[in-house]
């Protein structure tokens, strides 16, 4: 029984990481109606920046803030340079761009920072808490995820910029008519998503160790989580992310074994899309034809 409880708590801890990446996916989706495949690779790149800063002697939290800032700028830059000119292009072109981005960013990461697996420091107390049920890092990273979720919620609900971003995504034409700069809102969405991705990367790196392909599996789980919660609902994404973490851990321990863990993500994705495509918390989108 204790083992079962521990699996659930460990699942919640990994789920926190999926939740923050899922949150980043949903952010981009809300702002641009894109699902950014390169999210994971961008987050990994950001994490390497953080490691470089920490190794250069910066205090952890200063490096953290700097990395988030740099990632935000990179996200905006990518939107401006790559996505903006292709705004009106068909979906296939967007998928192609994302794939191109994945290839360039992940291989560039390997090229610049080499492929060896690197340990990453944790800012939290690193030892077992609550009688060995949970480690300090698991608790800390879950807390960070929840804080980020709260900030994102406040930003979208209670600031005029957040309102403008929602308006730009919801109805670009009307938003432009009332003076919202729709193009910049999209860029801002990319920046925010890159920043959240960076936070997720920094939180996950102490657990899985840092290597260029660190985020590939995580991205798929996060996508499964975002779909499970509803791709247009930030809260749903976080709940879905935690749920996928628990499902993955329990399924991996008791049903399929660790070898088929990634297949579990595939099963969740297909299951959600077949049974309830809008997810648990998502809106059902109707379109006029």
């Amino acid at each position: 029984m204790n083992g079962f409880l521990h699996q659930i708590i460990a699942g919640i801890a990994t789920g926190g990481i999926y939740a923050s990446v899922a949150l980043a996916l949903v952010m981009i989706y809300q702002a641009t109606h894109h699902v950014n495949f390169a999210q994971g690779e961008m987050a990994t790149f950001s994490t390497y920046i953080a490691l470089t800063l920490v190794n250069a002697g910066w205090p952890f939290w200063l490096a953290f803030v700097a990395t988030v800032g740099i990632s935000f700028c990179l996200g905006v830059l990518i939107e401006r340079v790559l996505m903006r000119p292709m705004d009106k292009a068909p979906v296939l072109t967007h998928v192609g761009l994302f794939i191109g981005l994945v290839l360039v960013v992940s291989n560039l990461t390997g090229w610049v920072f080499d492929y060896t697996v690197k340990p990453f420091p944790t800012p939290f107390f690193d030892g077992p808490l609550l009688g060995g049920l949970v480690s300090g890092h698991e608790l800390g990273s879950t807390a960070v995820t929840l804080v980020v979720l709260g900030l994102v919620y406040l930003f979208f609900r209670h600031t005029s910029l957040g309102l403008a971003m929602r308006a730009a995504a919801f109805n670009p034409v009307s938003a432009r008519l009332v003076g919202v700069r729709v193009g910049w809102m999209l860029a801002l969405g990319w920046g925010l998503a890159a920043a959240i991705g960076a936070i997720a990367g920094i939180m996950v790196a102490p657990v899985v160790f840092l290597e260029p392909n660190m985020m590939l599996g995580i991205l798929l789980y996060a996508f499964a989580g975002a779909l499970l919660g509803g791709i247009d609902n930030p809260l749903g994404a976080v709940v879905g992310g935690f749920a996928v973490g628990v499902i993955e851990n329990l399924g991996g321990t008791y049903i399929v074994g660790t070898e088929l863990k990634l297949t579990l993500a595939l099963v969740i994705i297909i299951g959600v899309l077949l049974v309830k495509p809008s997810g648990l918390f998502g809106r059902v989108v109707l379109s006029r034809v």
């Binding site: 000119p85 292709m86 296939l92 191109g100 992940s106 291989n107 595939l266």
Partner: protein, 333 residues
């Protein structure tokens, strides 16, 4: 940019017109010479690379039918390639069946699998389908390694295969024979695909991509046609997989990582989306470009792949085939 979704270029490409002034027979003869020349000129490694390029061309053609012509974006066609290769290898190694029987069997099994995946895929549009098929591609190596089917798949070890000898006492070594076999099969598949896209079904496939609602109003059964397209596409890619098992003489889970699906996708864009002939350039590109780039650095092929992919999307959305078509049109004027 918008050329990807424009109907005319893709419809035009369904009927290849030779340049004026050159008789078609001469073109065919030139083509035949170009295809046979490597048999006598090339050393065995180059021949192997050309065989691989032809195999990739078939696989990319399969992907192009579903993604380019039908607009269902698949980032998981490596899965069908893998299944085709494994079907071939298992039939040869475990069941001791003749090599020629593996090719149609792989195509049929992958076709059925494609039908099965095409059904739920009907519910997914655009990016969702792309990500779902991509997660299929990521899951494939894991599934192949699964212990429950190790007896057949050989688990992490994979399965060893031997190249077939040339039949009827032809004076060819196995490498040369496989090259001839692959090129002939590729030729057959390309002609069939061209005819398919020029047929009633082919027009329906393109019409559904360009305007599903209008196509439905014209009486096309969208669900059936989309699923059938998925099956055809998977069958073609599966055939390529079975050929690859013969060419490489070895299948293992690690040969079918998610990057294989990405490679096929890049080959499709570079060769030309919604172009039959473009797949040939795609195949040549994905085989020969990494060789050139590897001289620079271990990471260079990936970075260059990505940059070339993005550059093509910006500058040459019609791929190499689109470029040639434009040059041809200019010459004819």
């Amino acid at each position: 940019m918008s050329e990807l979704s424009e109907a005319p270029p893709s419809l035009r490409s369904a009927t290849v017109r030779p340049a004026p002034g050159i008789p078609p027979a001469l073109l065919w003869a030139l083509g035949a010479v170009a295809l046979l020349l490597p048999l006598f000129m090339a050393e065995s490694f180059t021949l192997f690379q050309l065989t691989t390029a032809a195999i990739y061309a078939i696989a990319i053609l399969g992907l192009n039918i579903i993604t380019g012509y039908n607009g269902q974006i698949s980032l998981g066609h490596g899965a069908f390639y893998a299944v085709g290769a494994y079907v071939g290898a298992i039939m040869l190694d475990k069941l001791n069946l003749p090599y020629w029987s593996t090719l149609p069997a792989a195509a049929v099994i992958c076709g059925i699998l494609g039908w099965g995946i095409g059904r739920p895929a009907l519910r997914l549009g655009g990016l969702y389908l792309a990500l779902t098929t991509f997660s299929l591609a990521v899951a494939v190596p894991q599934i192949l390694k699964y212990r429950g089917i190790e007896e057949w798949t050989g688990g992490v070890q994979g399965v060893l295969v031997t190249k077939p000898d040339a039949p009827f006492g032809l004076p060819l070594n196995p490498d040369q024979y496989l090259y001839v076999l692959t090129v002939l099969l590729a030729l057959g598949v390309f002609i069939l695909a061209r005819n398919l896209m020029a047929s009633r079904l082919g027009r329906a496939i393109v019409a559904i991509r360009d305007h599903a609602l209008a196509a439905e109003a014209m009486g096309m059964n969208i669900a059936n046609i989309k699923t059938a397209t998925f099956a055809i596409s998977a069958a073609i890619t599966g055939l390529a997989g079975a050929l690859s098992a013969l060419a490489v003489e070895f299948v293992s889970p690690d040969s079918f990582q998610a990057s294989l699906s990405i490679t096929l996708f890049v080959g499709m864009v570079v060769g030309g989306v919604a172009s039959i002939f473009g797949a040939v350039f795609g195949g040549l590109f994905v085989v020969f470009m990494p060789n050139i780039a590897e001289g620079l650095s271990k990471s260079a092929p990936g970075v260059i792949y990505g940059i070339i992919l993005i550059a093509f999307l910006f500058l040459l959305p019609g791929g190499v085939a689109g470029l040639l078509r434009r040059l041809g049109a200019r010459l004819r004027r």
